[in-house]
């Protein structure tokens, strides 16, 4: 007891202060949570989705065209189950938006955890985070309940220091513009690509849409641009279209499809087959904002 209890006590105190500081870090997607968890998102429009939301939709462009405030809650490397958990946390700490721009694609309705789990490290002391996310992510009990263990186990000392040192912003209202050159090599190695569906993810998605409708929040589905080569390799494109259309019809959600934009054949606007680079994202965001304005989704621009 003399050995264990004081150690745990000291570690708990260190963990509390370290996590407070680490929450401001821009390492490992931690930055994407700060505004949300501190109730600093004051937005009429939020963007939901995976990396194609996070890297494709520039909120500043939507703000300037729609005359409102937009925030991007897109999650890099995360499938729908994680996105919905982020949405729940967003609603707990921030006001209700008027419109949700929900990006959809062939990977959205998968159900998986475990990628980039470090982004949740600073929030292990937050009960809502524990309930929504930590209870489902594959953290070991040691990581969940022993103070500082998760940092010590997964990071080297340099990174533990860098977490406190790297506080410059890399995200703009949740959006990350990527400036990388085109690389289609990895995708070309793939023989085919499939729309993958998981029954649990479908159920969660359905419940999410029902809750959004019950909350009187408008929603629009958006197929964001991808490089045209993807169309040739997609095996079950019609199944994907039919699935999302069935949800759209059920909840009266319009679908905006940007996969046929002229930019989709221009490799200077993509950094890989699935993702626009910063310049491409700005062009797409402009088109999206113009269409949202024209369709009059928001009360203040009708």
């Amino acid at each position: 007891m003399l050995f264990v209890l004081p150690s745990m006590g000291i570690l708990a105190i260190v963990d509390y202060f370290y996590s407070q500081a680490a929450a401001k870090s821009n390492v490992d997607e931690i930055e994407a949570w700060y505004d949300l968890m501190h109730g600093q998102i004051d937005a009429d429009v939020i963007v939901m989705g995976n990396s194609r939301a996070c890297f494709h939709v520039n909120p500043l462009i939507l703000d300037s065209i729609l005359g409102t405030s937009t925030y991007n809650l897109g999650m890099d490397g995360s499938w729908f189950n994680r996105q919905i958990n982020k949405y729940h946390l967003f609603r707990k700490y921030n006001r209700k938006p008027q419109l949700i721009v929900q990006t959809i694609d062939h990977l959205s309705l998968k159900y998986a955890f475990g990628y980039m789990m470090e982004q949740f490290f600073p929030y292990f002391g937050n009960m809502q985070m524990r309930k929504e996310i930590l209870s489902q992510e594959p953290f070991t009990p040691w990581e969940k309940y022993v103070p500082m263990y998760r940092y010590y186990r997964r990071y080297n000392f340099e990174k533990i220091y860098n977490l406190l040192d790297s506080t410059s912003h890399t995200l703009t209202k949740g959006y990350k513009g990527v400036e990388k050159p085109w690389n289609g090599a990895e995708f070309r190695k793939l023989k085919s690509v499939r729309f993958e569906v998981n029954d649990t993810a479908m159920t969660i998605f359905d419940n999410y849409l029902a809750n959004v409708k019950a909350d009187s929040i408008k929603m629009v589905f958006v197929y964001t641009p991808h490089y045209i080569e993807l169309n040739d390799k997609m095996e079950n494109l019609e199944e994907m279209h039919a699935t999302y259309k069935s949800f759209a019809d059920k909840y009266n959600i319009p679908i905006l499809d940007y996969r046929g934009m002229a930019i989709c054949s221009d490799t200077t606007l993509f950094y890989n087959v699935m993702h626009l680079n910063k310049k491409g994202a700005e062009i797409f965001s402009d088109s999206l904002a113009q269409d949202l304005k024209r369709l009059g989704f928001l009360c203040n621009n009708q």
Partner: protein
């Protein structure tokens, strides 16, 4: 429930506090041990509790009947035999049923008959080989009048199910452990602290050495045909280090944990890789099992008190059974027979009883002869472990053939794994330095070790190493037995 699980980290302090602060008195403490042990064991599959309860009950009743039939030796013999048959039958069904059916099917298949429809999906209850032998030890000892039958069923159930040693030993003798349940226990601070140290060392061996070596072995064993002979030998060495660290680590945790509750379990490993001969190796490896077979199989067969060829026959019988005890696979039987052959050779040379003291006893370092002897013994043990680890005899033969005939052709193990070998060598070095101690963290009460902060510094350092470098979680190897 695994020792290296979070649940155990909650379970152990809870039981410890209840044991010393709430359940005061011998009977209440024994009851708590039974409850805690059944919770511990039932955490895996609660249905298996019926088996351990049945084994315990049969042996308990057998003890009472043997006592009841005092003066009627024939009846006592029948009761003891019946208990042995019942317990071995249970063990046989769960552990060996499919093995025998599959081999019988293979044999009859050559005549056109098939029995594959008779195989069944038995889940092997964890620890069944261990607690069955422990139960048998009791009834045989009562029959041989080495100890009286116990009339306290709680005491007996506690003896069989005692959670620190329930699933992977040491296989305790009733003459050692049962009387400890009959005595009152008082808290001994020094004993508890030393027990914790022993547990810490056990965790280090298991989580750092064994689990990291397991990563290498599990990844490359299946690719053995592509590796060079030298790499195959290294892989065998990794497995030798893995199985020692895993099993002796578990034993250290079990023994240390028992000491927290005031119990002394028998030592199970005594620096076996510093043995100068195979017979000495077997006096230092899994001591509880080898002495069990010596006392309950070898001696009743005549032991060493017969002519040389009967002695060798007895050795082969014991080691065939010992091999089979480890699992339902011909590789285990062949491993047992391999060691039986080595033991027979040492016996014929008349050097099987040499080397009772630890190597370099009273000295700092071994001499050249001792180093060569230890190297040869370790080499022979590695050969045995390769047979032991193989999935089947074909693989074992292929592996060994390639290892000896093709040392340089083929892939080498990646250099990144050489670091794990250094961990293993560091372990052996520490254990060599502390070879005359019960465990490597038994500090002498002199010099810097007297200072609490020095000792705590060592504990923290070990904990930090475990927290940072623990390998991917692997179950304890001997759980499968």
């Amino acid at each position: 429930m695994l020792f290296n699980s979070f649940q155990f980290a909650i379970f152990l302090p809870t039981v410890f506090l209840l044991y010393w602060l709430v359940f005061r008195g011998r009977r209440w403490q024994n009851l708590l041990i039974v409850i805690a042990s059944y919770v511990f064991y039932g955490w895996w599959i609660w249905r298996m509790l019926f088996l351990i309860a049945l084994t315990s009950f049969c042996s308990y009743v057998a003890g009472l009947l043997i006592e009841h039939y005092e003066g009627q030796r024939r009846r006592q013999q029948l009761v003891s035999a019946a208990n042995i048959v019942v317990n071995l039958f249970i063990l046989g069904v769960f552990k060996y049923y499919n093995f025998f059916v599959e081999n019988l099917d293979a044999l009859l298949g050559s005549m056109g008959w098939h029995l594959d429809w008779v195989t069944m999906n038995f889940i092997l209850p964890v620890g069944i080989s261990f607690y069955t032998f422990q139960a048998l030890s009791y009834s045989i000892d009562v029959y041989q009048k080495k100890l009286p039958a116990t009339h306290d069923i709680i005491e007996f159930f506690a003896y069989i199910s005692f959670f620190p040693q329930l699933v992977a030993g040491p296989i305790e003798r009733a003459t050692n452990l049962l009387p400890q349940f009959h005595r009152s226990r008082t808290f001994d601070y020094a004993k508890a602290v030393d027990g914790l140290r022993q547990m810490l060392w056990g965790f280090f061996k298991k989580l750092i050495i064994a689990d990291n070596c397991a990563t290498v072995v599990n990844e490359y064993w299946g690719q053995y045909s592509e590796l060079s002979g030298w790499s195959l030998f290294l892989l065998g060495v990794f497995f030798a280090i893995q199985i020692y660290s895993d099993f002796s680590g578990y034993s250290d945790i079990a023994i240390g944990c028992a000491r927290l509750f005031g119990f002394n379990l028998m030592r199970n490993f005594n620096s076996p890789y510093f043995s100068r001969s195979i017979p000495e190796f077997w006096r230092r490896w899994h001591i509880s099992l080898t002495t069990w077979f010596r006392d309950y199989v070898y001696f009743p067969l005549g032991g060493s008190r017969c002519d040389k060829w009967k002695i060798i026959r007895n050795v082969y019988i014991v080691w065939a059974i010992s091999g089979l005890w480890h699992g339902a696979n011909w590789t285990f039987v062949c491993w047992g027979l391999f060691h039986a052959t080595l033991l027979a050779i040492y016996n014929l040379l008349g050097i099987n009883t040499k080397y009772k003291n630890i190597v370099a006893y009273g000295k700092w370092l071994p001499n050249i002869k001792e180093v060569l002897q230890m190297s040869l013994t370790f080499f022979l043990a590695v050969i045995g472990w390769i047979i032991f680890r193989a999935d089947n005899m074909t693989q074992a033969v292929d592996y060994l053939a390639k290892m000896f005939t093709d040392p340089l052709n083929g892939r080498m193990l990646p250099e990144e794994y050489h670091g794990y070998m250094i961990w293993g060598l560091a372990l052996l070095l520490i254990e060599f330095v502390q070879r005359d101690k019960e465990h490597a963290l038994q500090f002498p009460n002199i010099g810097l070790y007297k200072c609490r902060f020095v000792r705590w510094g060592i504990y923290y350092a070990i904990l930090l190493v475990i927290a940072k470098f623990a390998g991917e979680p692997q179950s304890f190897i001997y759980f499968q037995f």
